[in-house]
């Protein structure tokens, strides 16, 4: 794989040339500080800007154009990563060598810039019809979070964090946030989006000099790119006492979410050791401490997982259980933490974790999204490239994993109580 960087006045272009794939992927990323008031606006923008433009008036016209471009796909999304909001526009397309049309590469690469630079704005307002379509869709999307027990429970649990912490913001916002958005305020948010830092990443078996020329030809964003961005990492406050919250719900199952703060991790711990800790605790499939204790030995649940939120400095445990088993589950979770602190895991388990991380990293080299994602965080956070991370993984020791266990402190315990009580399992 050949990595290159092209610098232009209003964006940087990062390319990865590889012949592994028949398709190519381009990602145009606008990034800015995560502010609560911007989150929903950026989500709205990503949707409406991939649905229509001044040239393609409706999603139908965009869909037809994508079909003409040999089933290319184009969509926008907004992600919150630590302290940053990233609004991305993603294009997937067939490698031009499979297509007889000689202008295919230029046609397909120009589409996202047509959509980004010429949105459906007239008289400083977004087109009302498309605005309403996206608003209705987001309205339903916000409401449908309430239909999924895991999403409701996780959102409510994270919402119990300090309200100024970006970790507590959901990318969808609330219905009242949505009601406050107007075609005019959205057009203003669009101008701010163009003002944010922009990077473009592309992967594929392509002549990257030609790609760079085409992109520069079509992406004439007049805004200067260099802007100071905050650190990616959120510093969440550690409470003196664990906050315990319980709510009733109409779901059958009861959902349990425990949030833990990770206090002052080192760079190495962030990149490798905490991933090991999480893998052994509950992130690594079916032989983890949590899975073994809650499911295999006590049949309390179908699944239980822990997730390490690197850029939020948080660790989250989530499971669905019967409501009579909450205390027993909490006791077993505490036992799992204790065992991790005491180093009650074997060298063999650490070796297994290493093998699995190396597998995951190698696997990410087999898909464009994985390659691009790694490159994005290499640029944003100096995350070592995959080849270097594999070497770092080999060096992690049991003592380091035990040491990082002491940096994990309980923060919030949230229970969403369901209605079903199956009796004894």
């Amino acid at each position: 794989m050949e990595y290159r960087k092209f610098e232009y006045p209003s964006f940087n272009l990062y390319t990865v040339k590889t012949n592994r794939f028949k398709t190519c992927q381009m990602e145009i990323i606008f990034k800015d500080e995560a502010r609560k008031e911007d989150v929903l606006l950026k989500t709205f923008l990503a949707d409406i800007m991939s649905d229509c433009s001044s040239k393609y008036h409706t999603r139908k016209e965009v869909a037809k154009e994508l079909e003409e471009l040999y089933q290319a796909s184009f969509y926008g999304l907004t992600n919150k990563t630590g302290n940053l909001l990233m609004t991305s526009f993603i294009l997937n397309f067939l490698n031009p060598k499979f297509v007889s049309d000689k202008d295919y590469l230029e046609k397909v690469l120009s589409l996202p810039f047509e959509m980004i630079l010429n949105p459906a704005i007239l008289d400083k307002e977004f087109d009302i019809k498309n605005f309403n379509i996206v608003k209705n869709r987001l309205y339903d999307e916000i409401l449908s979070v309430g239909e999924n027990i895991n999403r409701v429970s996780l959102k409510k649990a994270l919402g119990e964090l300090d309200s100024n912490s970006p970790s507590s913001y959901g990318v969808l916002g609330t219905i009242s946030d949505l009601e406050a958005v107007s075609p005019k305020s959205l057009a203003e948010a669009y101008q701010k989006l163009l003002n944010s830092s922009c990077d473009i990443f592309i992967v594929g078996s392509l002549d990257m000099d030609l790609v760079a020329n085409i992109i520069f030809k079509y992406f004439k964003n007049p805004v200067v790119k260099t802007r100071e961005l905050p650190s990616l990492y959120v510093s969440n406050k550690q409470p003196k006492k664990v906050k315990k919250v319980s709510e009733q719900s109409k779901f059958l199952e009861t959902n349990l979410v425990n949030i833990y703060s990770i206090v002052n991790p080192s760079e190495k711990e962030r990149v490798t050791t905490l991933h090991f800790y999480n893998y052994l605790l509950g992130g690594g499939g079916l032989n983890t401490k949590l899975y073994q204790l809650l499911r295999e030995k006590n049949s309390l649940c179908y699944g239980v997982k822990s997730v390490y939120l690197k850029y939020d400095n948080l660790l989250v445990i989530q499971t669905s259980i019967n409501k009579k088993d909450v205390n027993k589950a909490q006791k077993l979770i505490r036992q799992a933490f204790k065992e991790m602190k005491m180093g009650e895991f074997s060298d063999e388990e650490i070796e297994n974790a290493k093998e699995n991380f190396i597998f995951s990293l190698n696997l990410s080299l087999d898909n464009q999204a994985g390659i691009l994602n790694n490159y994005v965080f290499n640029v944003l956070d100096n995350l070592p490239l995959i080849e270097d991370r594999i070497k770092m993984i080999e060096e992690v020791t049991k003592e380091e994993i035990m040491a990082v266990a002491n940096k994990i402190k309980p923060n919030i315990s949230f229970v969403l109580e369901g209605e079903e009580d199956n009796g004894t399992n």
Partner: protein
């Protein structure tokens, strides 16, 4: 080893049969590091009634999925995870209506992974204790499924559509069904269906097909397989008419949803084989309900829907069409969908655009080792063979044929299931 050339898109699938009768399919991609193994059993949730040598058997609903769970036990102290964790690979399994699949995803140690997969699936270790323990876990999984609105909507739709077809029952079974499962049922299923001749192995990724064949034979020659019992599935005779035309489900739902479905006798379309029929129905539904359709555009523009999709299901005697929507004004949205089903359309330009983009998708499909493996599974389960001439089939479709299919679609046997917010 046979090389099956996928016409027009420069791909090859290797095929052979192991000495014990296990069919093996291999797709080679030397540009990636990963490989994906699936060992599949032609046994799914709908196969609960069968006969062996004329003797009839009936087992509890949910048993195929139950078997998939307990199959992970290798012996009293070992599970499949213990075999694969040292290899660093990812394993999983799933059960569908028609088959069960055991999966391994890895980037190294092919031989060890393949051996571990064959060793744990072809290992009839079952005890009463493990069956008892698994019942609690599966009860939790069943309740999780019941909390999902689309899962509830889908099975309510199937119950309204089918009198006898077992698609109307949950793949997991109900809690009451799995309580009935006994050790003897599990042993019966294993003996009848977990035989190499009733299974198939698919390997996709950076592998050598000839080495795969050798590895499989080396492993399976160490195992003893009894005579294949050749179980015969007893298929119920499904009436032509639907069970209920209209159902309303009150549910803990924030966004109201509905499904509109048609049951159409296939004899009206006897000129087309299942592959071509499936493709043509897909083109028609995509043209009328997809992102580039006039209907979806108009319903979105007028705030009548927020979501719309359509799919088809080709069974032995009939076709089922399923249109799903989300709307704040469900009744109006349903009316518009029914109108559209009564007035399906496609012109020459639409057909050309849809066929060209579908052919591009055929090329795109041969990219990811997991997707290719899944695609081969689908062909083998639904058509019992690979379809190497899909491109030719697409290119052969004429507007007259499309119109013939459209003319055969009527809304006489229609189901409307609405999911409304519980009061």
């Amino acid at each position: 080893m046979e090389q099956i050339k996928i016409k027009g898109i420069d791909e090859v699938i290797y095929f052979t049969t192991a000495k014990c009768g296990l069919p093996i399919y291999v797709w080679k991609n030397e540009y990636v590091k990963s490989f994906y193994l699936s060992l599949n059993v032609n046994y799914g949730s709908i196969h609960t009634e069968f006969s062996i040598d004329g003797k009839k058997y009936k087992v509890p609903d949910g048993i195929a999925h139950f078997m998939e769970h307990i199959k992970f036990n290798v012996d009293k102290d070992t599970t499949a995870n213990d075999l694969f964790d040292p290899l660093g690979s990812d394993i999983n399994a799933f059960t569908t209506f028609k088959y069960t699949s055991y999966l391994v995803y890895a980037t190294s140690k092919l031989k060890e992974n393949l051996n571990a997969l064959l060793d744990y699936v072809f290992n009839p270790y079952f005890t009463k204790d493990m069956i008892k323990k698994e019942k609690g876990i599966i009860a939790s999984e069943i309740n999780m499924g019941k909390d999902q609105p689309y899962n509830r909507l889908y099975f309510a739709f199937n119950k309204a559509m089918y009198h006898k077809e077992k698609y109307k029952y949950l793949i997991t079974g109900e809690v009451e069904d799995i309580k009935k499962i006994e050790l003897e049922d599990i042993e019966l299923i294993y003996d009848a269906f977990y035989h190499p001749k009733n299974m198939f192995l698919i390997v996709t990724g950076n592998v050598n097909p000839y080495e795969i064949e050798q590895m499989v034979n080396d492993n399976l020659e160490q195992k003893e397989f009894g005579k294949y019992l050749e179980p015969k599935i007893i298929n119920p005779k499904e009436p032509k008419y639907v069970v209920e035309k209209k159902i309303e489900i009150p549910f803990n739902v924030e966004v109201e949803k509905a499904k509109v479905g048609l049951k159409i006798a296939k004899k009206k379309l006897k000129d087309f084989d299942d592959v071509k029929l499936n493709i043509m129905l897909n083109l028609i539904l995509s043209n009328n309900f997809g992102d580039s359709s006039d209907l979806k555009d108009e319903l979105l523009q007028n705030s009548i829907i927020t979501y719309l999709s359509a799919s088809r299901f080709v069974l032995s005697d009939y076709i089922v069409i399923d249109v799903t929507l989300e709307s704040k004004i469900l009744d109006e949205a349903i009316k518009r969908v029914i109108d559209a089903l009564n007035n399906l359309k496609m012109d020459e330009a639409d057909l050309k655009r849809k066929v060209n983009s579908s052919i591009a998708t055929l090329v795109l499909n041969y990219e990811d080792v997991e997707s290719v493996n899944n695609m081969i599974q689908s062909y083998l389960v639904y058509y019992k063979k690979l379809i190497p001439n899909l491109k030719e089939i697409y290119e052969s479709i004429t507007l007259e044929e499309i119109k013939e299919v459209i003319d055969s679609i009527d809304t006489k046997e229609m189901v409307v299931v609405t999911m409304k917010k519980q009061k």
